[in-house]
């Protein structure tokens, strides 16, 4: 008998210390020797993501949350992150990690499987990203959380800056699933000089709680 399992497009060179089976994913909560280093990379590819498109986006409230009006604005509420992509489209990230009840309307398309999803957290996040992209994360005209639809390491991404507050700094991004392996390599290589290490979902969640 073949066991049914779901696999993330992202794999780290680290041993999982604690894991949790969730909706056929094996979610790593903590890696061996993960510690509390200054900077970490977390695989969140298992979190549910949705695409919502409508010419009347105002009438749609994913999980009861109002989609932000401003282009490329984001909102983080009750563990749900919603990013306004353009006048008719938004992306929804269910950061709690639990699979939510799917909205029935046809304007939604589940996009969990479309991409990898990762978070880079720590004081040197923007020293790492400036080796991968020319985006200006410190642009004073933007207020966190905000969305960039732009390439990182040459690959088109959705990048949400959740915090740029010193050690609490962190971004979340998605990109095509197929690039998972090379993206991890590029980020770990860029982050090596800043001691970037893989970390489990617990680290992400405790960070999220501080925002």
């Amino acid at each position: 008998m073949v066991e049914i399992k779901r696999y993330s497009p992202v794999a780290f060179k680290a041993f999982p210390k604690r894991t949790e089976a969730r909706d056929n994913w094996t979610v790593v909560l903590e890696y061996d020797g993960e510690g509390q280093g200054a900077n970490c990379l977390v695989d969140l590819s298992h979190i549910t993501r949705l695409d919502v498109q409508s010419s009347n986006l105002d009438a749609i409230t994913p999980f009861g949350i109002t989609i932000p009006q401003g282009l490329c604005d984001s909102v983080l509420q009750d563990g749900v992150l919603i990013n306004r992509m353009n006048s008719i489209q938004a992306s929804v990230f269910c950061l709690s990690g639990k699979r939510p009840e799917m909205p029935a309307e046809s304007s939604y398309t589940e996009t969990t499987e479309v991409g990898m999803c990762m978070a880079i957290i720590g004081k040197d996040v923007f020293s790492i990203t400036e080796k991968l992209t020319s985006l200006d994360f410190m642009d004073s005209a933007k207020i966190t959380p905000f969305l960039y639809q732009a390439p990182m390491s040459h690959i088109p991404c959705q990048i949400i800056t959740l915090s740029r507050d010193g050690a609490k700094s962190g971004i979340l991004f998605t990109a095509s699933r197929g690039y998972g392996k090379d993206m991890v390599h590029a980020i770990m290589d860029a982050g090596a000089e800043f001691g970037l290490k893989p970390a489990g979902e617990d680290r992400f969640k405790s960070w999220l709680n501080t925002l």
Binding site: L71, C72, M85, N86, S134, Y148, Q149, A150, P151, P156
Partner: protein, 86 residues
């Protein structure tokens, strides 16, 4: 790439995030009564202005939208209005 382009959704970005979509030649002509000549002109003939022209670009590595800008083809810079660089 020195060129920057202002995407109506994402703002000003490096030119390499975009793909050129040709000069602005208006909507497709109706097929009824369309002569081969006129069709060829619509599809293939360009003004190639040495100066400011209105053209289509797509933000391929970004939000994916199509939009027009005015570009000075001599200096290869985006300009706010057709008159801006005259």
């Amino acid at each position: 790439m020195s060129l920057t382009i202002t995407c109506p959704i994402c703002g000003k970005r490096d030119g390499y995030e975009f793909r050129f979509g040709g000069e602005d030649k208006g909507p497709r002509p109706d097929e009824d009564g369309l002569t081969p000549q006129r069709w060829c002109e619509y599809v293939h003939l360009n003004e190639c202005v040495a100066g400011v022209q209105k053209e289509w670009w797509v933000h391929k590595d970004g939000c994916g939208s199509w939009f027009t800008i005015h570009r000075d083809s001599v200096m290869n810079v985006e300009v706010a209005t057709p008159e801006a660089h005259k």
